[in-house]
């Protein structure tokens, strides 16, 4: 008997459809399937991690509150000397396998978190219902990252582009109710749930 296919927690839960007024689409919501790799530098080794990241993934170590996006993966600053890499499993697995253990710990978080993408003109208004970080374009711009609480859920919030598109990385165990919150919050603006993008990290 073969092992079951690994599936993300939102597979089968986030069904494509439209919520709220049919004539409007203020926000679109979809799951993004991607691998997640957390790199945490050992004490005093942040410089070595920066060099490793540049060499192994072609990414610079992001400064506090920032993300650096490359062709195959993005590096999100989530704590001092700690980054979360988001990208296809095919791109991140070789990185994980090569992390020198004396400079950093590498944690595969692919199934520990779920990634949701919320985009559209109403995205800021939707998030404002559960998030206290100021997301006004003057205060929060593409490439910025905040680790905060959205609708009681600890969330890594990353603005991916100026559309605006927000990536919300939430603990897998809370991802279904979190997705339900987003749909509920976005329904008044017209919310289109679209098929997932990316590939299962398994």
């Amino acid at each position: 008997m073969s092992a079951p296919e690994p599936r993300t927690i939102l597979a089968g839960h986030l069904r494509p459809g439209h919520h709220g007024p049919a004539e409007r689409t203020g926000a679109t919501l979809r799951e993004r399937r991607a691998a997640l790799l957390e790199l945490s530098a050992r004490r005093g080794r942040a410089g070595d991690v920066a060099a490793f990241l540049r060499e192994a993934a072609g990414l610079d170590l992001p400064p506090p509150g920032r993300a650096i996006s490359g062709a195959e993966a993005a590096a999100l600053w989530i704590a001092p000397a700690t980054v979360l890499l988001v990208g296809a499993a095919a791109a991140l697995e070789p990185v994980r396998a090569r992390v020198p253990r004396e400079i950093a710990t590498a944690l595969d978080q692919s199934f520990g978190y779920a990634i949701l993408r919320l985009a559209g003109a109403a995205a800021r208004a939707v998030l404002a219902k559960g998030c206290r970080v100021d997301l006004d374009p003057g205060a929060f711009a593409p490439g910025q990252v905040a680790r905060t609480i959205v609708a009681q859920v600890p969330t890594i919030l990353h603005q991916a582009d100026a559309a605006p598109t927000f990536e919300l990385i939430v603990p897998a165990s809370l991802a279904r109710s979190f997705a339900d919150f987003l749909i509920e919050a976005a329904a008044e603006f017209g919310c289109a749930v679209e098929p997932a993008i990316g590939r299962d990290p398994g």
């Binding site: 506090p64 704590a79 700690t82 970080v133 905040a146 680790r147 905060t148």
Partner: protein, 95 residues
């Protein structure tokens, strides 16, 4: 909304933070040399002023780091925040 300035993340909403009691309390170098009274004072006795208080805070739902803050316990205003391990900053004006 009360904003707390994390030394690593900047100004963030209060709900991301956890309180950690009074700052700059050094653990006695040789606890076994203390009598019960002195040990109890280390464990439990705090200055508890009305006014500027040096406190430990944890950015629990952000970067996860501990840092120190000077807060006015009468007004709840945060006067300064600084990384753990640094000396208490001088606010001037005798505070």
């Amino acid at each position: 909304m009360l904003l707390v300035t994390c030394p690593h993340c900047g100004a963030r909403p209060e709900i991301e933070f956890r309180y950690g009691g009074e700052a700059h309390i050094a653990r006695p170098a040789d606890p076994s040399a203390l009598d019960d009274r002195q040990w109890a004072e280390f464990l439990y006795f705090r200055s508890n002023p009305k006014g500027v208080y040096a406190e430990r805070w944890n950015h629990a739902h952000g970067c996860g780091r501990w840092f120190n803050a000077l807060r006015d316990t009468a007004s709840d205003a945060f006067l300064a925040t600084y990384p753990a391990g640094q000396q208490r900053p001088d606010l001037g004006g005798g505070r």
